[in-house]
Symmetry: C2
Subunit: 211 residues, 2 copies
C-alpha cells in the first residue's frame, strides 16, 4: 500500500526521523572512503555516500560535503594539500568504514581508531585504504558552494586508478560487484549486489538487449 507524505509533513518530522526518511529517497548510494593527509602529516579517513560521476574526459568525480560535520577534517585537508584518495567500501571493511563517521577529534586518525590499514604508493601524497580493491588517487579541481543549504560540491580529477585486473571487461567496464564493492541506503545500511543484467546501448525502435 502506497502512502503520501507532503512537504509540510516532512518539515514537521523529528530531526533524526527526517534524516533517515529523506536519505532513503535517493535510492542506493555510492560509498567511498576518502583518505587525506594534512600538511602536518596527520591522516584522516571518512566515509561518504554522495559520490557522483561528473565526466569521463577529463575524468572528474564529485561529492557533497557538510562543513559542520565530521567531514570538515576531510575538507580542510583537501583544500590544504590538493590531494585525496577515494576507496571503495567492501564486505571486509564496511563496519570499519561506518565507524569512520564517529566524531573523532582532529588529532586522532580514523585509520588508527578503526584499524583500517593505510598504504602509500605510486608516489601519491594521500593515503589509500589497503583493503579496498578499487582505489582512486584524486586531485582537487574546484569547490562549489551551494548557498541554498550551506553544503559544498567538491570536484576532483582522477590522477590514477588501482583496479582489479580480473574485473576489467574488454570494453572498459569494471565488474565492481565481482570485486566485492558495496552500496548503501539511508544513512547506515549496507548492501551487496546481484547483477541482473547488462544492457546494450539503447537505440530508438529496438528493445533493450542483454549484452
Amino acid at each position: 500500500m502506497q502512502k503520501i507524505i507532503l512537504h509540510e509533513d516532512i518539515m514537521a518530522m523529528e530531526t533524526r526521523f527526517r534524516a533517515n526518511f529523506i536519505n532513503s529517497l535517493t535510492g542506493f548510494k555510492s560509498l567511498g572512503l576518502i583518505g587525506t593527509k594534512s600538511a602536518k602529516n596527520q591522516t584522516n579517513l571518512a566515509i561518504f555516500n554522495s559520490l557522483v560521476h561528473l565526466g569521463a574526459h577529463p575524468p572528474y568525480i564529485a561529492f557533497v560535503v557538510r562543513p559542520d560535520s565530521v567531514e570538515r577534517h576531510t575538507l580542510a585537508n583537501i583544500l590544504e594539500t590538493g590531494f585525496y584518495t577515494i576507496n571503495h567500501v567492501n564486505f571486509g571493511n564496511y563496519k570499519q568504514a561506518h565507524q569512520t563517521s564517529a566524531r573523532y577529534p582532529k588529532e586522532i586518525s580514523e585509520f588508527d581508531a578503526t584499524g583500517l590499514e593505510y598504504e602509500y604508493k605510486a608516489d601519491f601524497y594521500a593515503p589509500f585504504v589497503k583493503t579496498s580493491v578499487v582505489q582512486l588517487g584524486v586531485q582537487f579541481k574546484e569547490r562549489i558552494n551551494i548557498a541554498l543549504n550551506n553544503t559544498i560540491l567538491l570536484i576532483g580529477e582522477i590522477r590514477l586508478v588501482f583496479y582489479p585486473e580480473s574485473g576489467l571487461s574488454a570494453d572498459g567496464y569494471i565488474d565492481i560487484e565481482k570485486s566485492g564493492s558495496l552500496c548503501g541506503s539511508g544513512l547506515d545500511t549496507y548492501h551487496s549486489t546481484n547483477r541482473l543484467n547488462r544492457l546494450a546501448y539503447a537505440k530508438p525502435g529496438s528493445l533493450p538487449q542483454t549484452m
Copy 2:
C-alpha cells in the same frame, strides 16, 4: 591482482572504453526515472544515475545533467515548468527505464516509446511512473553551471513523496530493498541488493553495532 592506470592512460583511451571505465569507478549508482511535462503538455522520461542527497531540512535532492545529451529535454521541461518527478527503478521496469536513454526526437514521449505507464496524482504537474514504488514530486530550486566540463547540477526541493507503507521503519528509514529498488554500475548494468547490515550511529570508542 591489482593494476594501475594513470591519468595520461585514461586520456588516451578510446571514447566508449573510457566512458565505461570511468563510470565504473564511482561505485554503485542511484537510479531514478525523471518525469517531466512541457508547457505544451509533451511528456518526457529519462533515466539518471547521478542522484545525490543534498539535505534533509529542507529536503533537497540533486542530479547532474549533460546539456548535449538526451537529458536536454528533461532540462528544458524543468526550467520551463519548475516541476518534475523522480521515480525509483525496480525489477519490473528497469529494461524500459534503460530504453529511455535512446535518442528519441522531442515530439516522442519516452512513456509511449517504452510502454512505461504514467500517472498524475495529488494535483502534481509532472507525470509519475506508475510501476515505481517510490515516487517523488520535486520543485526546481537552483541550477548550478559547472564550467569545468559544461555540466549542470540541478537542485530540487521534495514537495511530496509516495512510499510503500510496509517499508517504513519506526525511525524513518524506508526499506528500499524490500520494495524492489535497484542500483546501477557503469553506464548500463543493473543490480538488485542483499542487505548485509544496518549499523547504529557511530561513536568514538565503541565498535560498530548492528541495529
